[in-house]
């Protein structure tokens, strides 16, 4: 992967992180669960907010292998998938804030964001519910002879629901163009998934159905992108479904107000050393990018190495912004998106009666 390409993936990961940092702040006190009470002043973002801090490389690496007209289905933890597929953060914020400009016109909130214009067919509040939906969308593409594929994201906890087995079996029987992606963050809400899962998890189960798989480090965006590209091209070539099992870790609690006191803090500390964004920064710096504009020159050994690599892979360190500048720029864009969303109007209460159904819809009684 060229440095330029990697920088682009880095930017998308930063976008997701910045988006979720702001969403997290705006949600504190917005829901009562996990022993946390709702604050007196209602939070701007209400209800359960599931954050994907630490898992950004999976969304970004997988979506890098997709075309604009490919589709994805997502989960309750779907902000990263939306952004990686090209959804606009300001309209996502508007949805989280319940505003009229939100992707779902304020009707869905975090767990239901969809952007059909970029092939994002929906987050979902029901675990594993996106799996059969992805399979059906792929069947529609195949039936019409289109070359589009569907990437289906789900968690490690979802593989213990029936729709996982049923959906994988179906996709294999009908040889459908689906790339299944298990985002294995080790937890299912407050439960360690390993304690509740027999066997080796998603990949092993898929192999039992004859579906080819790859297992990758889900915090290494290059590894995810490489594996996803290989599998996606096999799917696109008509080879039937494939499954990518990406091992990652959930940095935050299950929802934004969950302090995750049920897990060993040392486990989190170890995971934080493996932050997908920092890992990418390390690679970028090895390739000659500088951390900040004021930083001293990288040492000559790394410098010459990276210069050689840059010659082969793209623009050199002098032509690209420092990582700090990129970060600052992304933060500004996301803050601007939030400001824009905050200026969006509330939906009219009458909208509650719209889009229910054609016949007999939109009535009280």
């Amino acid at each position: 992967m060229s440095t330029e390409q990697l920088l682009e993936l880095y930017r998308v990961m930063l976008r997701i992180r910045a988006f979720e940092d702001l969403a997290d702040q705006a949600s504190q006190g917005g829901t009562s669960a996990f022993g946390q009470a709702t604050s007196a002043a209602p939070a701007p973002v209400r209800g359960p907010l599931h954050l994907s801090h630490g898992q950004e490389a999976v969304a970004v690496g997988v979506c890098a292998s997709l075309h604009a007209d490919d589709a994805i289905t997502s989960t309750h933890r779907g902000h990263g998938h939306c952004i990686a597929k090209g959804a606009d953060p300001w309209r996502m914020f508007a949805e989280l804030l319940g505003r009229a400009d939100g992707y779902n016109a304020g009707k869905g909130g975090s767990m239901h964001i969809a952007d059909f214009s970029v092939g994002m067919l929906g987050s979902n509040g029901v675990v594993a519910a996106g799996i059969p939906i992805a399979v059906g969308a792929a069947q529609a593409f195949k039936l019409r002879g289109e070359s589009r594929i569907v990437a289906c994201f789900f968690g490690d906890g979802a593989i213990n629901r029936g729709p996982f087995l049923e959906g994988l079996n179906w996709a294999q029987v009908f040889q459908l163009p689906v790339l299944f992606v298990c985002e294995d963050n080790r937890y299912s809400a407050t439960t360690r998934s390993a304690d509740m899962t027999a066997g080796e998890g998603a990949a092993a189960r898929a192999r039992a159905l004859g579906i080819a798989t790859q297992v990758c480090d889900g915090n290494d965006v290059i590894a995810v992108a490489r594996a996803a590209a290989e599998l996606a091209s096999q799917v696109r070539a008509g080879g039937g479904p494939r499954l990518l099992h990406a091992i990652t870790y959930r940095f935050k609690g299950h929802v934004s107000v969950d302090p995750a006191s049920y897990r060993d803090p040392r486990e989190l500390d170890r995971a934080l050393e493996h932050d997908p964004i920092e890992l990418t920064e390390r690679v970028l710096m090895e390739r000659g990018c500088v951390a900040s504009a004021h930083a001293s020159k990288p040492d000559s050994r790394i410098g010459s190495e990276s210069a050689a690599r840059a010659a082969a892979t793209g623009p050199g360190p002098s032509e690209i912004a420092s990582l700090d500048e990129i970060k600052r720029h992304v933060r500004e864009q996301i803050e601007h998106a939030m400001q824009r969303a905050l200026a969006s109007p509330w939906p009219d209460a009458a909208a509650a009666f719209e889009d229910v159904q054609d016949s007999g819809g939109g009535v009280w009684r």
């Binding site: 239901h112 029936g162 509740m196 049920y262 229910v356 009280w364």
Partner: protein, 354 residues
């Protein structure tokens, strides 16, 4: 929920539990939230009967609403069973456990996810006793937190009680106070048939007195099929359940100041339901308004109103439920589906031409 709302219910609630116990019952009462009362009921039932077990996702950490807090430490993982995310097997396995002599208490997170286990509830649990010619009993409780949990949107906010009330074989209980959570859950666990126990998510933190050591008061409050008159009145009867009680009691207080005397009946269970209490009150006041948070169309209010109409055509009848729309996320949309005291007041004002 506001203190005022809490106070409204707490002020009028003790009548149910303390009708027979008087001042001593109140003295012995422990102040508990609905979540604490339910956790306490389950713990007491597990202490009393080794065949009681509980199973569901995340209950080993107390459940997401803390309504299972402390149980794993006391009873161990054999009886407090953390499960995979496998709703149909959680429910199906509970049916098997019940057929094999245990008394499972099933946790399905929210009533919306009961839809992932509907075959096991409706085709298996509810019908086994009848279908198998009376050879089997299915003594289990299905705990389904229901109702609008503000900001949780369409897949986490539904009120589906009428689905279950429609199914022969199921008992349907909807507690409204900490005392009712405690007493009715105890009775539900002792029931020989499957009980759908729907707890309102916005009531978990509601506090109130529970006379834990007054057995007769608990037995009195725990009678399934017996309504509780939360407030007496003479001009109009309001029949409600679950969180609706808070709103209706507040509405009745507001209307009292304007010279309208409203009787509020908390049905407490939808099947069996206390027809006698509702009919007696409605006949006396001449008017019955049934209030529920669920969608009004084909809601349980229709059943109550139709039953009263068939028996006493002279009683004037109305229903107040939600519009037939999914619950929206944004506050102005969610508000359209939300039951409030103001909405109850204006329904009554309109009706009486105030």
């Amino acid at each position: 929920m506001s203190d005022r709302t809490v106070g409204g219910v707490v002020r009028s609630a003790p009548a149910a539990g303390n009708a027979t116990s008087g001042a001593t019952g109140v003295e012995q009462s422990v102040d508990l939230s609905c979540a604490e009362a339910a956790a306490r009921a389950l713990a007491d039932a597990m202490r009393a009967d080794p065949s009681v077990v509980t199973l569901g996702e995340d209950i080993g950490r107390g459940g997401v609403f803390a309504q299972y807090r402390g149980l794993l430490a006391e009873f161990g993982a054999q009886r407090v069973i953390d499960t995979p995310i496998s709703e149909s097997t959680i429910m199906g396995a509970a049916v098997g456990m019940a057929l094999a002599g245990l008394r499972p208490v099933v946790e399905l997170r929210v009533v919306d996810f009961a839809l992932c286990a509907m075959d096991e509830i409706v085709n298996q649990a509810a019908k086994a006793r009848f279908m198998l010619g009376g050879q089997a009993r299915v003594p289990l409780v299905i705990r389904l937190p229901g109702g609008i949990w503000s900001g949780a949107a369409a897949q986490h906010s539904q009120s589906l009680e009428s689905w279950f009330a429609h199914i022969p074989g199921l008992t349907v209980v909807m507690p409204a106070t900490p005392l009712a959570h405690y007493a009715l859950l105890r009775t539900a666990i002792e029931s020989a048939d499957p009980v759908v126990f729907i707890e309102h998510k916005e009531l978990w933190t509601l506090r109130g007195p529970v006379p834990l050591h007054d057995h007769s008061a608990i037995a009195h409050a725990g009678r399934i099929g017996v309504a509780h008159t939360a407030r007496s009145g003479s001009d109009l009867t309001v029949c409600t359940w679950s969180r609706g009680l808070q709103h209706c009691v507040l509405a009745a207080e507001q209307l009292e100041g304007r010279g309208v005397s409203v009787e509020v009946i908390d049905l407490q269970s939808l099947w069996p339901w206390d027809k006698q209490a509702v009919i007696e009150s409605a006949q006396r006041t001449g008017r019955l308004l049934v209030v529920h948070e669920a969608v009004q169309v084909a809601g349980f209010g229709a059943e109550v109103v139709a039953t009263v109409a068939e028996a006493h055509p002279e009683v004037k009848l109305r229903r107040l439920g939600a519009p037939r729309i999914p619950v929206g996320y944004s506050p102005p949309l969610e508000a359209v589906s939300m039951l409030t005291a103001d909405r109850v007041v204006s329904a009554i004002e309109q009706w009486l031409g105030l």
